[in-house]
């Protein structure tokens, strides 16, 4: 009985594994949509400067770097000592100011009034437009108010509410943008580092 069931399912699966062709015009449509988007690395040099990368250094180069840093440190210390009385601030703090703790994201509260909704989620480019993302499920706060506070990376983002897994609703309190690819209502948000 069990073997028979497995054979049936395997027969069904075999039929479903047949390749499916899509229209040849799909490639052109995708590329057309992609060309309308901002080009990656638009800022060229700046992008290279801020993109993290792995650097391989030989022991010899390490030694030379260490010697150079030590040399600068000695010179700096001598200079600081000579100008000690008139120095406005230590050279070390001038050269190496304390870095501020930089946050890569901020917690943002999203609020929507939807008295008839059974479920409200926030989707955006910050969560892959995934309406099932656990961190972006709004909770009902009473009076038809739904809200969720969730982390959003610094920068410009597009987002929307998805009500009952089916209806896309732009945030009535935020600037509206047109998602020119698909015509769905989207809102815009700019997340900045808190000062």
């Amino acid at each position: 009985m069990r073997d028979e069931a497995e054979q049936d399912i395997e027969q069904i699966a075999r039929e479903l594994r047949v390749p499916v062709a899509v229209g040849r015009s799909l490639d052109a449509r995708i590329m057309q949509a992609v060309r309308r988007l901002p080009r990656h690395a638009r800022f060229g040099l700046w992008s290279r400067l801020v993109t993290p990368r792995t650097v391989t250094v030989t022991p010899l180069v390490w030694g030379m770097l260490a010697a150079t840093v030590a040399g600068f440190a000695v010179l700096g210390a001598m200079h600081a000592s000579a100008d000690f009385h008139r120095a406005a601030k230590p050279i070390a703090s001038a050269l190496f100011p304390k870095p501020k703790a930089a946050a890569s994201s901020q917690r943002v509260q999203f609020v929507l009034v939807a008295p008839d909704a059974k479920k409200v989620a926030v989707v955006g480019d910050f969560n892959g437009w995934d309406a099932s993302h656990a961190a972006y499920q709004a909770q009902q706060r009473g009076g038809g108010v739904w809200s969720v506070t969730a982390p959003v990376p610094l920068g410009h983002h597009r987002y929307s509410f998805v009500v009952d897994d089916s209806v896309w609703v732009a945030d009535p309190t935020a600037p509206r943008v047109t998602d020119y690819d698909y015509g769905m209502p989207n809102s815009a948000i700019v997340v900045q580092e808190q000062k």
Partner: protein, 182 residues
């Protein structure tokens, strides 16, 4: 673009500003993932929309692809989510199921005459499954994924996935029983 470029090489080119290099990724994964989108959404028009949507969103977020060597897996995750969203959005509409014969490559050559009707019955039964069960069945039996892999992809626990697959199998056999018997 050389034919053997890895995904990571192509992704790096796109990130350096070579938009046209993205076409390589489209050609590489378009057909491979069309089958899943087609079976999840039930017709070619919706499948193409989901694919286009997934590729465009992947391009937008390409800088956030943590492992460019596994771009395909990352893209598939986006596609699975897009199929869920599109499926849910259209779930409330009355769906007219249209069998898209022309979408089946080689079906006429590889299968004897008379199997088209059988294939239509399978497609029809598949579309009658609940979306989560259809998704689990396709990932397991058609895309040939293991439960751990499915769990990572969908964010659903392994036991829940096993239950969905079991229910999907039972329901498919039930729906197709008349065809089996005939």
């Amino acid at each position: 673009m050389e034919a053997g470029s890895s995904d990571a090489v192509v992704v790096a080119r796109v990130l350096r500003g070579d938009v046209e290099a993205f076409r390589d990724l489209v050609e590489r994964y378009r057909d491979r993932y069309a089958r899943y989108a087609f079976h999840m959404l039930g017709n070619r028009e919706d499948a193409e929309e989901a694919l286009q949507d997934a590729f465009v969103r992947a391009y937008r977020s390409l800088g956030r692809c943590e492992d460019p060597e596994r771009f395909g897996a990352w893209l598939f995750r986006i596609l699975v989510n897009r199929c869920r969203t599109l499926g849910a959005r259209r779930g409330r509409r009355a769906r007219t199921f249209v069998v898209d014969d022309t979408a089946l490559l080689g079906a006429a050559e590889d299968h004897p005459a008379g199997t088209t009707a059988w294939r239509e019955e399978i497609d029809r039964a598949l579309q009658q499954l609940r979306g989560d069960q259809r998704e689990a069945f396709l990932l397991k039996y058609v895309e040939d994924m293991g439960y751990d892999e499915m769990s990572q992809l969908t964010g659903v626990g392994v036991s829940a996935l096993k239950m969905r697959v079991m229910r999907a199998c039972e329901r498919l056999r039930e729906l197709l029983s008349e065809v089996y018997d005939a």
